[in-house]
């Protein structure tokens, strides 16, 4: 009898450590966040005030929230789109084995391993309006000076440039390995089938790397939604809220203004958005993506 019980419990015991960690650090915070979004609380006072949907109503009536939302999406679309586009172009360019190319690969990859804080300081200097290197170079061509980080119209795009610069190396390396795993004989067959370069890329190379691009798209989207470090260090959401994103405003409301309920509400919105993206991607795109 006792043995029987142990036998049944065994598999659960084996998965228990992972399950407990998952419950404590993933499921509990999510449930707790959803719960907090119905309360008003300042982090310190012992009582929480239940307010129902008040936080949600306030959020959806706040014009700043819509700007934050739009910033987040513009940032996401541009970083993911450009990051993958440049990743593909660089990978195609580097897809010949030579010493120069492997050296180039390490150079392109290096930003990815540097901490975001250092990168942020580096770019703050590069993009400085008065003594930044970029504006200096542009001035040679009689362009500028451009207020990279101070203009509400440009600051978000400057953050996109920084993000693309950081991730493109990672994307390139991953796409490059996908390119190099395409069997050579497919290209030989295509050359016998009279395929020109464009057809070869569209009909063979692209479909063969599409699972990789699919993977990178998801990873990059999630990463871009979570953008925080560069904003915190470089712009703090400014100027005029033009670089404020969902995660940064969540941080501001939670840890600067101590409006935990409101911050949780933003968290719930972010959760819903990311869930929708994940579901769309897995349901729709995965059908059109080729897996061997």
């Amino acid at each position: 009898m006792k043995n029987e019980l142990l036998k049944k419990a065994k598999p659960y015991l084996f998965v228990a450590p992972a399950l407990i960690i998952f419950l404590v650090f993933s499921i509990y915070p999510i449930v707790s966040m959803i719960q907090l979004s119905f309360f008003e609380w300042d982090f310190i006072s012992p009582t929480r005030l239940f307010v129902g949907f008040k936080n949600y109503i306030a959020l959806f009536q706040d014009s700043a929230f819509y700007q934050t939302l739009s910033n987040t999406f513009v940032y996401m679309i541009l970083t993911v789109g450009l990051g993958i586009l440049f990743g593909v172009l660089l990978a195609l360019f580097l897809n010949k084995k030579s010493k120069v190319n492997s050296f180039m690969q390490s150079i392109i990859f290096s930003p990815y391993i540097v901490s975001l804080a250092s990168i942020s300081f580096l770019w703050m200097w590069l993009m400085n309006t008065d003594f930044g290197l970029i504006n200096y170079i542009l001035s040679i061509f009689k362009i500028g000076p451009i207020d990279w980080l101070g203009s509400p119209k440009i600051a978000l795009f400057s953050l996109v440039i920084i993000s693309v610069w950081k991730t493109v190396g990672y994307n390139t390396i991953i796409i490059l390995s996908a390119l190099q795993s395409i069997p050579k004989h497919l290209y030989e067959a295509a050359s016998l089938d009279k395929a020109n370069r464009r057809q070869t890329f569209l009909k063979i190379t692209f479909p063969m790397i599409s699972p990789t691009l699919f993977f990178l798209t998801i990873v990059n989207i999630i990463a871009s939604f979570k953008v925080f470090d560069t904003i915190q260090i470089i712009t703090q959401g400014g100027p005029q809220n033009s670089t404020n994103t969902l995660v940064y405003s969540l941080y501001e409301y939670g840890f600067k203004f101590y409006k935990i309920g409101y911050a949780s509400t933003i968290g719930v919105v972010l959760l819903v958005i990311i869930s929708i993206f994940t579901i769309i991607y897995f349901k729709l795109l995965s059908k059109k993506v080729h897996y061997q």
Binding site: P183, H185, L186, E188, A189, A190, S191, L192, D193, K194, A195, N196, Q199, K203, I204, P207, M208, S210, H290, Q292
Partner: protein, 348 residues
């Protein structure tokens, strides 16, 4: 139909290793020519040079009288079947067959008609919308063939196309390829390391070793009149017995120039006293090993001239260590000189 001519063709890889030094080969129009040889003999390289997938380091290649050295593979009017089929995994069966036609800008109606013609020959009608990963090895092979056939090329190139199939399917595909060759009337160039495949399908065999042609002829010629010891041993299973002069002299005397003699295991018979005994060589031996092949058995027999292979029908069933008396007709003995080349001196 078209003739393929390779003239003084040389192939180096990265200017370092030379695979083929000086190859001269004429592949007759409409022939089923099989390039056969051990691995590394240059047969695949030769095929790939004909296809245009490898550059020719020096020398000339002509197909149908036209110099092809600098012509793109797609413009050579050839089709190739690869060892691993090289099907496009992202396209359906139909997409695979159609890809070359689309690139050649053939109008849709004509494409449909061409595919329609091919699809029943290869028996793939139900699979048109499937992806290659959903097909069995044999079906993939057929898709690869269909993809080649639909272009109606003058030359079909095949690089070990049957080596990934199981034995039964391979036999079946072999006869289908022979049939196909009859039907299409095109030139087939086929690479294999399997001499059985070469013998069974070819109208012409080109036997290669270390980048050189050792013999070029019909399967019958190559089997019956091997020009050298290499050919004699490469073609035929089990391989021909080759005996050095000194060892052979243990049982018979030989004319002077002969350095090696050879005979096929199937030509050795159990000794039976008959009238034409003078035309036969008689010797004794002990059975060392026995390999049952079904209708035939291969024995290794220890004789005075060394160990020889003997192939007999399985109605003669010998046991290990049996002492046996064997006979070999003089007319089935091949003679070779010290350079291991064939000598056609009177057999006596």
């Amino acid at each position: 139909m078209s003739e393929i001519i390779l003239k003084n063709v040389r192939k180096d890889y990265d200017n370092k290793s030379t695979v083929i030094e000086n190859l001269n080969l004429t592949i007759a129009s409409g022939s089923f020519t099989v390039l056969v040889g051990p691995s590394g003999c240059g047969k695949s390289t030769t095929l790939r040079m004909i296809a245009g997938l490898e550059d020719i380091s020096s020398g000339e290649l002509y197909i149908d009288g036209k110099k092809m050295n600098d012509i793109d593979p797609g413009d050579r009017d050839i089709a190739m079947v690869f060892q691993n089929y090289a099907l496009y995994p992202t396209m359906t069966v139909k997409g695979n067959i159609e890809f070359g036609l689309i690139n050649a800008k053939i109008p849709k109606e004509e494409r449909e008609q061409l595919i329609e013609e091919i699809i029943d020959i290869v028996g793939l009608r139900e699979y048109l919308d499937k992806k290659p990963s959903q097909l069995s090895g044999g079906q993939r092979q057929r898709v690869a063939l269909a993809r080649a056939m639909v272009k109606k090329p003058k030359v079909f190139l095949m690089d070990e196309p049957l080596s990934n199939l199981d034995a039964k399917l391979r036999n079946q595909m072999r006869s289908e390829l022979i049939e196909l060759h009859h039907k299409l009337n095109a030139t087939f160039v086929y690479v294999t390391h399997d001499q059985v495949e070469a013998l069974s399908m070819a109208t012409d065999i080109v036997l290669m070793e270390k980048g050189k042609i050792r013999q070029h002829g019909s399967p019958h010629d190559i089997y019956t009149y091997p020009k050298n010891v290499f050919t004699a041993q490469f073609i035929g299973t089990p391989e021909m017995n080759i005996i050095e002069r000194q060892k052979f002299e243990a049982i018979a005397t030989l004319p002077e120039q002969i350095a090696y003699i050879g005979f096929r295991p199937s030509k050795v018979k159990m000794y039976e006293p008959t009238q034409d005994q003078k035309q036969k060589l008689v010797f004794t031996g002990t059975v060392l090993t026995k390999e049952m092949l079904g209708s035939e058995i291969i024995y290794r027999v220890q004789t005075n001239m060394g160990v020889v292979a003997v192939k007999m029908f399985s109605d003669i069933n010998l046991n290990l260590d049996d002492e046996i008396k064997l006979s070999l007709s003089y007319s089935s003995i091949h003679c070779f000189d010290e350079n291991k080349n064939r000598m056609d001196i009177l057999r006596s």
